[in-house]
């Protein structure tokens, strides 16, 4: 069953006087619980594709469907609610709120939704990510790997349906990167979350169930490596 799909998705930018097509007429769908890596060379449009797909950016043309409904029919408020309830985001630069502690950052989507936190679930996520002893610290007191774990916990705190990760290991050293990736994989599998991850690292991509390769804004390859199967 498809959880999210896009049809004829195009995103154009103006670069000086030239129009650049970062995403060029892409049609693709993602199944529930699937771990999909989007890869491609630098500047191929993979991050832009992820941003448009996850509603962080509006497409120039085409549509993104979450379930049956097109995201273009959502207003600003509805998109905010969708993001806080159904989507989770992990960025390359972690993007934690500097004034909030680790735990408060994790609680952000739940609190924005005015819900009572599900302590049991959160504890499970925190334990899976191994960050219990770092929860009371401000982001500036944490290492990159720790910050990214907090970011993953935040992305998962509201039990999202889809986890979007944009180069989550890009800022980390090899060991931390590997750790964060395994955690992402493990946690999303455990929790049944669809993971759509952008990476330019083939070793990372190889761990996914499905690999989409983008070049010049178009999907040039859609493969499912045997290892993952």
């Amino acid at each position: 069953m498809n959880i999210i799909e896009c049809k004829n998705l195009t995103k154009e930018y103006l670069s000086g006087e030239n129009v650049v097509k970062a995403v060029d007429d892409v049609t693709v769908s993602f199944r529930q619980g699937e771990f999909c890596a989007i890869t491609g060379p630098s500047g191929s449009g993979k991050s832009t594709f992820l941003h448009v797909l996850s509603s962080l950016e509006n497409p120039t043309s085409g549509n993104v469907y979450y379930g049956e409904k097109s995201l273009s029919s959502y207003n600003d408020n509805q998109l905010s609610i969708l993001r806080r309830r159904r989507f989770g985001f992990v960025f390359q630069a972690y993007n934690l709120v500097q004034e909030l502690t680790g735990y408060e950052n994790i609680l952000l989507p739940v609190m924005l939704d005015n819900k009572k936190p599900d302590e049991e679930y959160l504890n499970k996520v925190i334990d899976m990510l191994g960050i219990r002893d770092r929860l009371g610290h401000l982001p500036s007191a944490l290492s990159g790997g720790q910050q990214q774990r907090i970011a993953i916990a935040r992305a998962l705190s509201n039990r999202p349906a889809i986890l979007f990760a944009d180069e989550p290991t890009g800022n980390l050293d090899g060991k931390s990167g590997r750790e964060v990736l395994s955690l992402l994989k493990y946690v999303s599998k455990q929790l049944g979350v669809t993971l759509i991850l952008v990476t330019h690292d083939l070793h990372v991509a190889e761990q996914a169930e499905r690999i989409l390769t983008i070049e010049d804004g178009k999907i040039v390859k859609d493969t499912r490596p045997a290892a993952s199967v």
Binding site: H51, L56, E57, N58, D76, N77, S80, I81, L82, R83, R84, R85, F89, F91, A93, N95, L96, V97, Q98, E99, L100, T101, G102, Y103, E104, L107, L108, P109, M111, L112, D113, K116, P117, L135, G136, H137, L138, S140, A141, R154
Partner: protein, 952 residues
């Protein structure tokens, strides 16, 4: 070709690359600088406007003397260091028109070069005469002549030729062409004079080659400015009333001339009056200017400090954004000094942009204000102040920039990149992780906690604005709302003395001391629109008694005279005062028990018994009737009919009177006087002795009134008037009632115990002669407007022209007061609005900078599902917090100062306590800023989340 990389190119490069950020920074700094420079410039312009206004309306001279016929040795004054500059008006004659009559005329003169500078002709139109037959005239003087002046118009005047000290009574016809219409000076100077003696001050000017009519001789009138030193140096003079202090100029120069004039022109008091009154007016204005300078400097310093805080704030925000850049520069080997150099130069470049911009904005703001204010605000920009303000602004920007710069340069590269500062702050502030929270509330609270220093500047500016505006608005309320526009005059028009007549405390001199006659009153009542005229008379008399009672001794003239004369002696000290147990001892101590003055006077006035001087106050019966319920009657009953018939009088007295001395800390006498025993005394007042009134209602008292046909001078010395000049009137009257001293400031007053009050007719009867009136109160029939006021004033001027009396218009007084109040209100309101606007802009600017700085955070929060409501909530909460702090501290400070002033000055501090307008303005501003914030966030949300996140 590659450019050489220098610190300057780095600094300039920063400016070029971050145009948007710098634009906001520059706006913030400009606003902070305008906050102070506009106010300083406004104050300086107000000061120069006042000075220019004074020059235009009163001239640029300090001292004026009519007919200096060799009276003043000015050259000696120059040599002795009393005179700075002087010039002469050469009066050729006194011009008037047959139509308006001689009273409405003006002297015509030519001015020498210095006199021109001192008279300071300000032309509403035209120029100074440059050829014979041309005339420049003050507008009001022309109107009084019945001429509506127009340039090029020919006028024919009747001119009495000058004879060096006065004018011949014959007149010749003179024709002039009007070439200049001057702003009024004579009219304004007259207001401050106790005379309406128009022939003394020239208000029309001709060319210097204009010749005087054959047979005449120019009247030389002296315009003079003293030296600063002689004006500031204080000189002590011993007078019968004690030690008096005056300026060296006044003491030596003015008094010297005054004595000379008195001896030369003993029969014409106008000379001396002119001289004295212009002098005192100039002195007061100068004192005002110097007081306002101190206030201005204080205000300027406070505003400059507030601006600096604003600038520190703006730079801190900017450097915060660029911490990573500083860290990077430090990482690649830049020393602290180099960092300060790069960013310091940047600050210098910014200050070079900001200083002229803020000075220009201030200049035009004040200019626009001056345009709006019209004639009442003369825009005289002091460019020195502008240049100084610009220079001080540059220094302030540099100093203010240095504060965050030094702290930024201190941080290590890693600190800059990883922002460990927050973590340190968190530890210091003991922040606890929250497990349940409202996102906007927590982020706002945390942000304020961790970045408190940044908000202090903005909050301080808010505090200063609210504090200052609360006082300003309280003054405004006192001036605008609480003022009921009334005149101090007791009628729509009043007639008062215009000169200090030679009066006596003891004698009546009807031939010398001219008063308002019944004919004058008939003339007034002949004017159809005057409804009624009431007046007041007074006469000197003595209460004759067989024996001095203690009460009389307590009020004794000799006692007071001796004390005043020996004020600085050790006649009375706190120690020997304690030994005084009764009035006789006091009397013995102070006067040696002798009634020197009365003893001598008794010989001359043939009084057989003891006597005490008193003043009989006679009010028209209707005035007493109107106030009958306001008198505090101690004994008896007020019967107006009996007062009218001269059968009874009212005695003003306390039932029991205290002789009270107020001491200075060093034991010398500050003041002394007679007080009601019932009145509570202050801490520094000592009751020396007390006496009971021994006269009751129904008692008969003897009045001995003395008349003289010559001026009684030098009283108190050996020179008493010869018997042949005196006549007497003795009457016995009943004391109808005893009333307490009273002061109905709007109608009548009498504060001296043992004075007598009766009706005007009663006064004539008990003193045996018809007395003229001292002043008149005239009621107008119906509403007064500009037109009817001009006509009525002109009519009254006609009656009293050339006399010792002048008429004053209550309507005009109210109009003048309202006009001045309006100017004051507009000025104050403009300053308050300007301060609040700038304050709002600074607050807004600070928050805009914060939003810009927090773009990444906004993007992150949007990504995790925050809507515009939550995002706006974060910033609005911070804004509200700043306003609450600002309001609480500002209004709290205002309240505390208000209470302190109330406690210190008691009832004399009459300023109302007013906080709600500032509160309303603040809430309104907060609301506007919140709306603005909402739109700023909305604007930010027009960008995609990715753009927000990537911005930095």
């Amino acid at each position: 070709m590659k450019k050489k990389l220098t610190i300057n190119t780095l600094a300039l490069g920063n400016l070029k690359k971050r145009k948007k950020q710098y634009a906001v920074l520059i706006i913030g700094i400009v606003l902070a600088m305008v906050f102070s420079s506009a106010t300083i410039f406004f104050i300086s312009c107000t000061k120069s406007s006042n000075e220019e206004f004074k020059r235009r309306t009163m001239g640029n001279f300090y001292f004026y003397l009519f007919a200096d016929d060799g009276i003043v040795d000015v050259e000696k004054g120059v040599r002795d260091g009393y005179v700075e500059e002087y010039g002469y008006a050469h009066i050729l004659g006194y011009a008037y028109t047959q139509e308006k009559g001689v009273e409405q005329g003006t002297p015509v003169a030519w001015l020498d070069e210095t006199a021109k500078e001192l008279y300071y002709p300000y032309f509403e139109e035209g120029r100074y005469p440059e050829a014979k037959g041309e005339i420049a005239i003050e507008k009001e003087a022309a109107l009084r002549l019945g001429i509506n002046p127009e340039i090029g118009e020919q006028i024919t005047l009747s001119m009495q030729t000058a004879n060096s000290t006065d004018y011949f009574s014959d007149c010749v016809e003179k024709t002039y062409t009007i070439v200049g219409i001057l702003a009024d000076k004579r009219k304004n100077i007259e207001k401050y004079l106790n005379t309406m003696w128009t022939p003394s001050f020239a208000a029309a000017f001709v060319f210097e080659d204009e010749e005087i009519t054959a047979g005449g001789k120019e009247i030389l009138c002296l315009y003079l400015n003293p030296t600063e030193k002689s004006l500031n140096e204080k000189v002590a003079t011993q007078t019968p009333a004690g030690t008096a202090y005056s300026s060296a100029f006044e003491s030596y120069f003015v008094n010297g001339i005054y004595d000379k004039i008195e001896s030369l022109y003993a029969d014409n008091y106008n000379y001396s009056n002119l001289l004295r009154d212009i002098h005192s007016f100039s002195y007061d204005t100068n004192a005002d200017v110097s007081n306002s300078s101190i206030l201005s400097i204080t205000l300027a310093v406070v505003l400059m400090l507030a601006s600096c805080i604003g600038i520190v704030n703006a730079f801190s925000s900017n450097l915060k954004e660029r911490k990573k850049q500083i860290g990077m520069l430090r990482a690649v080997g830049a020393t602290k000094r180099q960092i300060i150099n790069i960013f310091g130069r940047e600050a210098f470049l910014i200050s070079l942009i900001c200083a002229p911009v803020s000075v220009l904005v201030s200049y035009f703001a004040v200019k626009i204000y001056a345009l709006l204010m019209g004639d009442s605000f003369i825009f005289v920009p002091d460019f020195t102040v502008l240049i100084i303000t610009a220079a001080v602004s540059v220094v302030c920007v540099m100093l203010a920039a240095l504060v965050p710069l030094i702290s930024a340069a201190k941080i290590s590269p890693m600190q800059a990149i990883r922002n460990v500062e927050l973590n340190r702050k968190m530890k210091n502030k003991k922040i606890k992780t929250q497990s349940f929270f409202k996102v906007p509330v927590l982020i706002a609270r945390r942000s304020m906690k961790l970045h408190r220093a940044r908000q202090i500047g903005v909050t301080l500016i808010l505090i200063i604005t609210i504090f200052a505006s609360s006082f300003g608005l309280a003054i405004l309320k006192a001036e605008l709302i609480d003022t009921s526009w009334y005149t101090y005059y007791t009628g729509d028009y009043v007639v008062r003395r215009s000169t200090y007549a030679d009066t006596s405390h003891f004698l009546n001199m009807p031939n010398i001391d001219k008063k308002i006659s019944l004919n004058n009153i008939s003339d007034i009542l002949a004017y159809p629109e005057f409804k009624s005229v009431y007046g007041y008379k007074e006469a000197a008399s003595f209460i004759v008694t067989d024996e001095y009672s203690d009460y009389m001794k307590l009020l004794e003239f000799d006692l007071f005279y001796s004390l005043r004369y020996k004020l600085n002696s050790d006649l009375l000290t706190p120690e020997n005062t304690a030994a005084i147990t009764d009035v006789n001892k006091l009397f013995e101590l102070c006067c040696g028990g002798e009634h020197q003055f009365y003893n001598k006077l008794k010989q001359n006035t043939e009084a057989s018994a003891q006597m005490r001087a008193t003043v009989i106050n006679g009010y028209d019966a209707v005035m007493i009737e109107n106030c009958i319920d306001r008198f505090e009657v101690i004994d008896g009953k007020i019967d107006i009919d009996k007062l009218e018939s001269g059968e009874e009088i009212l005695l003003v007295a306390y039932e029991s009177a205290d002789f009270v001395i107020s001491w200075y800390d060093d034991g010398s006498i500050q003041s002394f006087g007679i007080y009601d025993t019932q009145k509570e005394k202050t801490k520094d007042q000592t009751v020396v002795t007390t006496a009971q009134l021994d006269i009751k209602a129904g008692d008969t008292i003897k009045l001995h009134s003395v008349y003289s046909d010559v001026f009684e001078c030098d009283w108190g010395t050996e020179n008493y008037i010869e018997r042949e000049h005196l006549s007497f009137c003795d009457k016995e009257v009943k004391v109808g009632a005893i009333i307490k001293p009273f002061d109905f400031s709007d109608s009548m007053s009498c504060s001296t115990p043992m004075s007598i009050v009766t009706t005007a007719n009663g006064l004539d009867i008990v003193t045996g002669q018809n007395h003229g009136y001292e002043n008149l109160n005239i009621s107008f029939d119906g509403e007064i407007d500009d037109f009817s006021d001009t006509a009525a004033t002109e009519y009254l001027n006609g009656i009293f022209a050339g006399s010792y009396f002048k008429s004053l218009s209550g309507y005009k007084e109210i109009q003048d007061d309202m006009y001045l109040a309006r100017i004051f209100i507009i000025s104050l309101l403009s300053v308050v609005i300007l301060m609040f606007s700038i304050c709002a802009s600074i607050v807004n600017n600070a928050l805009t900078a914060k939003i810009r700085e927090s773009k990444k955070e906004i993007g992150t929060l949007r990504a995790v599902g925050a809507s515009v409501k939550e995002l706006t909530g974060i910033y609005v909460r911070q804004l509200v917090s700043m306003f609450i702090w600002g309001m609480s501290a500002g209004l709290g400070g205002y309240t505390v100062i208000h209470i302190i002033l109330k406690l210190c000055f008691g009832k004399s501090y009459a300023m109302p306590y007013l906080i709600w307008p500032s509160l309303v303005i603040c809430i309104l501003l907060c609301f506007i800023c919140s709306i603005n914030l909402y739109f700023k966030i909305k604007q930010e949300m027009k960008h995609s989340i990715v753009e927000n996140i990537r911005e930095l």
